[in-house]
């Protein structure tokens, strides 16, 4: 095998100046030739380390090898054995800290662009007139209810269908996808792609029930009358606010609200769509994660003249993916690092007009290992704004914990599970994703879904239930 090229095949993108004003997807994807060239950089290690970095254990050398040899259908068949959401994962997984971070090439040169190749093969399949169906085991007659049609729930649904169980997915919103449809913007994950992968799970045999709020429309106890097992994947629902004076002024959004209006409700197309959104001229987004980047970049696309990220630490501590920060910088987002808001200033009509902030400096490392920001005395200053998006995280959605007696919940409101099995304190009930971990990533939720699905299958076969939280 020839020595791999030291740099990966670049993916073409929309020009930053153009894309900052539209909602179209930023990267264009690989052509088959580009994909083949990139796939040929893979050494096809006998003991591939990349797979260890993947929470759903995709056979990475298997599908990349098939692409390198031009066997694209084979590549897709390999992919779908372990991952039913490849077009999504290829776009939103943090590959640099997972599969690509473990790639042996990464020690000496750029790792294989595994994410780009995953995206390529999924998009290629979508352009064909047929698709690879999952192989299913014979029907077991057992019924599984999945609550929440986000990344964790869809993974459980896909896996349980393969095991031969009947699956019904209940979704509170009017569209399936969870954070993939309400949270992640069109320019990063087109909704048509989510729809396609959700449709695949439906075609595999899942029944999808939208507009069904478990906890309210029916409780888990009631679902257990009709289903043999229940998986809870209801996500990190409730937004955190800064809890600063003036936070209820007009023009101040949680990131959940801002992104839900724009993404799920298509407020960027108002008045063709009915849901409005404030099209601020000077928008400040508080936070340093991927959601903050998504919000600040959405603000630009909604017409902001200036979109500012306010973050209390420095660039290197930002939890957002490097690629997202890079994209934001390219598009002209202004970053105010080492800056912490202390209050909101509103005008007489109740609209926010400034964000009062303190400058920070980095002190000793805190529990997270990151240097803790310490306020600089007397450094108060104001950022004039007409819109603020608070993107500092979420706590778990309270509806199910509140309405499910016997379900053990942590002080933070997360559902307590045995991490090895996803089993909760309530017999027949499993959980995974952000409702268990607090706000995390799509792929970690999918990994938790995979673990829970295996454990559900085992429970349905054996009927054995051990108390995962007890001392046994």
């Amino acid at each position: 095998m020839a020595k791999p090229a030291p740099t990966r095949t670049p993916m073409r993108e929309q020009d930053p100046g153009v894309r900052a004003r539209n909602f179209d997807e930023v990267p264009h994807g690989y052509s088959p030739e580009e994909a083949a060239a990139e796939a040929q950089r893979c050494l096809r290690c006998k003991k591939p380390t990349c797979v260890n970095g993947c929470p759903v254990e995709v056979d990475i050398p298997g599908f990349i090898g098939a692409i390198a040899e031009g066997r694209l259908w084979d590549a897709m068949t390999v992919m779908k054995r372990t991952n039913v959401l490849p077009a999504i994962c290829g776009r939103v997984c943090p590959q640099e800290t997972q599969c690509e971070g473990e790639c042996v090439l990464a020690k000496k040169m750029e790792p294989v662009a595994i994410g780009n190749l995953e995206r390529f093969i999924a998009d290629w399949e979508a352009e064909q007139n047929e698709c690879v169906m999952c192989e299913k085991l014979p029907p077991t007659g057992r019924k599984v209810a999945v609550i929440g049609a986000g990344p964790a729930g869809l993974t459980v649904a896909g896996d349980c269908l393969k095991f031969g169980h009947e699956v019904t997915v209940f979704e509170a919103l009017h569209a399936p996808g969870g954070v993939l449809v309400y949270g992640i913007p069109e320019f990063r994950l087109p909704k048509s792609i989510v729809e396609r992968e959700v449709n695949f799970i439906r075609d595999t045999g899942a029944k999808l029930v939208t507009n069904f709020v478990v906890g309210m429309t029916r409780t888990i106890a009631e679902l257990l009358e009709d289903f043999d097992a229940v998986f809870v994947g209801t996500g990190a629902g409730r937004p955190w606010f800064m809890e600063l004076p003036g936070e209820n002024a007009l023009g101040i959004y949680s990131a959940n609200e801002y992104l839900t209006r724009s993404n799920l409700m298509k407020a960027y197309l108002f008045p063709e769509y009915d849901t409005p959104i404030v099209r601020g001229k000077r928008v400040a987004t508080i936070g340093g994660g991927n959601v903050a980047m998504d919000s600040a970049r959405t603000a630009l696309r909604l017409g902001a003249e200036e979109s500012i990220i306010v973050y209390r630490r420095s660039r290197q501590e930002m939890p957002a993916r490097e690629a997202e920060i890079h994209h934001a910088e390219q598009e002209g987002i202004r970053f105010e690092f080492l800056t912490n808001p202390v209050r909101y200033v509103a005008n007489k009509q109740g609209w926010v007009e400034a964000l009062e902030c303190l400058r920070m400096e980095l002190g000793e490392p805190d529990a997270s290992g990151r240097r803790r920001p310490v306020p600089v005395k007397g450094s108060e200053f104001r950022i004039p704004v007409d819109t603020v998006v608070v993107a500092i995280g979420n706590s778990p959605n309270p509806l199910i914990p509140q309405t499910t007696p016997g379900l053990e919940v942590s002080k933070r409101g997360t559902i307590v599970v045995d991490p090895a099995t996803g089993r909760t304190s309530k017999k027949g009930v499993f959980a995974g994703g952000d409702i268990v971990t607090g706000a995390a990533t799509v792929i970690l939720a999918m990994g938790a879904g995979r673990i829970a699905a295996n454990s559900i299958d085992e429970y349905l076969k054996t009927g054995n239930w051990q108390d995962p939280t007890g001392s046994q």
Partner: protein, 288 residues
């Protein structure tokens, strides 16, 4: 999908729908609400549940046509369907025997307080209801309210029917004549609920108000319905919609309800301009 089984005009601009929504009907309790979205391009709006008939799978909603969405809703006829109908949402009203319970409603708050009044009556309360309207033409649900109340007082702002004045005038009279209600329930315009809270604060009568902030998902996810209650931030969708009226910052709620006034006007105009033409065919959403 929820099919409209029956449509009635209760008063000018006030419509009543019976909808086929068995899942909602089975679980709904007084004080809870639904969220609906008429069609693919619609917004999600919350509406209080006005009644249910669980055995028939029926949910009743009553709404006042104010903006684009409620007017469009009002144009639907029996037999047509509402695309998304979600519920029940919110915490139910706290129903127990308070001795005497007073239900105060203004305008379209009347059909919304009806199931609360009925439940209070069934729980053994002596129910006094005060329902207020701008004028006689807008009086709705009087017979129904009378059937679940020991005493019913109807007020109109202009005196064209019942007692002239506001619901708070009647409430003040009740308190002045020595009534000692164990609980007052207020449902209606924010300003009315604020005034009710002021009436009962001095008398020390526990009072709850059903708040009506803007909502999107209404499951606790977006935070737009945040209200200040007793100095704390609460979400009306999952922590409410009913709160201790003496603790609610009604002025903040009034301000927050105005956030989209320009957009609401624009949406209505946009809809009226396109009215009469078929909106479903061949009209592509412009992407800027």
């Amino acid at each position: 999908m929820s099919r409209i089984l029956k449509k009635e005009l209760l008063a000018p601009g006030i419509k009543r729908f019976e909808l086929d929504a068995p899942d909602v009907a089975r679980k709904a309790r007084p004080g809870q609400f639904v969220v609906l979205r008429i069609h693919e391009r619609g917004e999600r709006i919350p509406l209080t549940i006005a009644d249910t008939r669980p055995e028939d799978g029926v949910v009743v909603i009553v709404f006042l046509e104010v903006g684009k969405t409620t007017r469009e809703l009002g144009e639907l006829e029996a037999g047509q369907e509402i695309m998304d109908f979600i519920g029940p949402l919110g915490r139910p009203s706290e129903i127990e025997n308070f001795g005497t319970a007073v239900c105060v409603a203004g305008g379209v708050g009347t059909p919304e307080i009806y199931p609360v009044a009925r439940a209070l009556k069934q729980a053994g309360n002596r129910v006094i209801a005060i329902i207020g309207f701008r004028s006689q033409a807008l009086v709705t649900m009087e017979t129904e309210m009378r059937s679940v109340s020991d005493e019913l007082i109807v007020t109109t702002d202009d005196g064209s029917y019942g007692r002239k004045g506001f619901v708070t005038d009647a409430l003040n009279e009740l308190l002045a004549r020595g009534e000692k209600p164990g609980r007052v329930f207020a449902v209606g315009p924010v300003i009315m609920m604020k005034m009710v809270a002021e009436c009962t604060r001095a008398a020390g009568v526990p009072t709850v108000a059903s708040l009506n902030p803007i909502m999107v998902d209404a499951t606790g996810m977006c935070g737009v319905c945040r209200c200040t209650v007793g100095g704390e931030m609460k979400l009306a969708c999952v922590d409410g919609p009913e709160f201790d009226a003496h603790q609610v910052d009604f002025d903040e709620l009034l301000t927050r309800l105005k956030v989209y006034l320009p957009e609401e006007k624009r949406a209505l105009e946009h809809w009226q301009e396109g009215h009469g033409t078929c909106r479903c065919a061949g009209k592509e959403a412009g992407n800027g």
